[in-house]
Symmetry: C2
Subunit: 247 residues, 2 copies
DNA sequence: AAGTGGTCTAGACCACTAC
DNA sequence: TAGTGGTCTAGACCACTTC
C-alpha cells in the first residue's frame, strides 16, 4: 500500500469536514495560502486538493474572494403529477406543479417555424426536412438559470396556432393541442446524465463538478401519434426528480 | 476580452475533435509529451488540458498506457416496463444508436436483519430502531460494476421468508411479498444526481468526470402501506433512464 | 528499458474582489 | 492596496504498462 499523495490527504480531510457537517454550506474553506502553510506544501499541491473537491461538486471557488462550501437547495420536479390532465386542463401552467415554493421564470424565449433537426424527425414520425414549430427557452429560479428547454411540434399541427407565438395562452401548449384534437394522452421521458459542454456550463452558469441531466419528453396523442418532443437540460445538482406509476 | 489560457485552448481543440467524431471512442488521444511538444508548453500545462477533459467525462487516462476517448454505451433502465412498446412510438430513443442490451449479474450480496437506518425508518412508517430485512448487492455488466443497490423491508413482513435469504426464489422479492398479502401496487422513484463519493467511485470503478444517479424506489402495497425502500446508486454515465405515464 | 501518466516544488506573474 | 484565486514553467522523481 503506497502512501496516498499529500493532495489527496488534504482533500480527504476537507471532504470529511464537509460531509460530517463541520463545514456547512456557505462556510469559508481554508484557501490556497492557508493550506500551504498548515500542511507545508507548494501552492500547486494545495490547489490540487481544492480542485479535487471542486470536481466533486463540494466546494466552489470565487476568484479574489475565497473558497466556500457549496449549497444544495433542490427543486422538486414531479414527472408524473405535474402533467396530470387536471393540472393542465384548467388554464394552469405545468410548471406550477414544480414550483415547490420558489417561482420559476423564463428567459431567452425563441419561438419559430424551422426545419426539423435530423435527430428529432424520426421521433415525431416526420420526413427529414419537415417543418416544425420550435420553442426554445431558459428557466430561472431566484434569477439563476436552472434549465434549458427546446421543444418541437409538427408544423402541420402547431403552425398558425398560439403554440407558434410567444404567449401560448391559458393552459399552455398542451391545452392548445387539445383544442385541435391532438391533446397528449401519454408521455415518455428519457433521462441521461453527463458533465456539461462548455456552452451548457455557460448558459446554466455551472462550475466544475456540476453534472447536467438531459430529459427528453415524448408526448403522444390518441392512437400513439407523437405530437411533441421536448429536450430539457437541467442543472442536475439543483433538482430532485420524481416519477410514480402503478405496479 | 483576455486571451484564454493555453491549457483551455488545448482542451478546446481536443474537445472539438472528440465531439465532431474526428477522435472516436477508444481512440488514443495525444498524451502529455505530445502536447508539450506540439504546443510548446510545460508538462503541467499539458496535464491540465487533459485533466479538464477527464473532468468532463470525455477521456480516460490509463497510467503507463495512454489517454483515450471514453466510450458511451448506455444501459437502458425502464422504470415502467410493463406497457407494450408497440404503441407509443415503439419506445424510440434519441440515443437509440448507442443502446446496449447485455445481461446483468450480481455481486457482493449481503442479506440480513438489521436495525433500520434512521433516514429510512420514516419512509417505511417504522419507529426508529425497528428491525428490517436489508438486501445489499452490486450489479455488473460484462464484469464491470454499474450499480449498487440496498433495499429495506420491514422485518415484520419479510423476516423468516425467503426475502431474508440469498435466493429469493422465482419472481423475486415482489412475488414473495405478494404471497404474504403485501404485493406492491404502486411505485415512486426519486432521482438525484451528483458526483460520487470516493467509496462510491471505488465500488463502481469510476474515474473523474463520471456522475452518479441516486434512485430511491418506494414500493407501496394496497392501502398505501410502504413495503420496500430501495436505494440505488448508478454509474450515471452508463445509463439511459426511462419512465412513461398517462396524461 | 522505454514510454506514459502521476505528483511535487519554488518562484513568478496575472486577474479579480474587498476594503 | 492587500488578499485570494488562476496560470505557467523547468526540472525532478515515482509508478505503472508494454515489449
Amino acid at each position: 500500500m503506497p502512501a496516498p499523495a499529500p493532495y489527496r490527504l488534504i482533500a480527504d480531510e476537507l471532504r470529511t469536514a464537509i460531509l460530517t457537517g463541520r463545514l456547512k454550506p456557505g462556510d469559508r474553506v481554508p484557501g490556497e495560502n492557508t493550506l500551504m502553510e498548515q500542511h507545508g506544501v507548494a501552492k500547486e499541491t494545495a490547489r490540487r486538493a481544492l480542485a479535487t473537491l471542486a470536481a466533486e461538486g463540494l466546494i466552489e471557488t470565487r476568484r479574489g474572494s475565497g473558497t466556500f462550501v457549496k449549497a444544495f437547495r433542490p427543486i422538486r420536479r414531479r414527472g408524473t403529477k405535474r402533467l396530470a390532465q387536471s393540472q393542465w386542463g384548467e388554464g394552469r401552467s405545468i410548471w406550477e406543479a414544480d414550483l415547490d415554493d420558489r417561482p420559476m421564470t423564463t428567459d431567452r424565449l425563441e419561438v419559430g417555424e424551422v426545419d426539423c433537426p435530423p435527430h428529432v424527425a424520426p421521433l415525431l414520425g416526420l420526413e427529414p426536412g419537415a417543418r416544425v414549430v420550435m420553442r426554445n427557452r431558459r428557466y430561472l429560479v431566484d434569477g439563476e438559470p436552472v434549465m434549458l428547454a427546446v421543444s418541437y411540434l409538427p408544423a402541420a399541427l402547431a403552425g398558425g396556432t398560439r403554440i407558434a407565438e410567444a404567449d401560448t395562452g391559458p393552459g399552455g401548449v398542451y391545452a392548445r393541442l387539445a383544442e385541435v384534437g391532438a391533446g397528449p394522452v401519454w408521455f415518455r421521458e428519457e433521462v441521461r446524465v453527463r458533465m456539461p459542454l462548455p456552452e451548457e456550463a455557460e448558459a446554466l452558469r455551472l462550475g466544475p463538478g456540476s453534472p447536467v441531466a438531459l430529459i427528453v419528453r415524448h408526448a403522444y396523442a390518441e392512437g400513439g401519434r407523437p405530437v411533441e418532443v421536448n429536450e430539457m437540460t437541467l442543472d442536475a445538482s439543483r433538482y430532485l426528480l420524481e416519477w410514480e406509476f402503478p405496479a
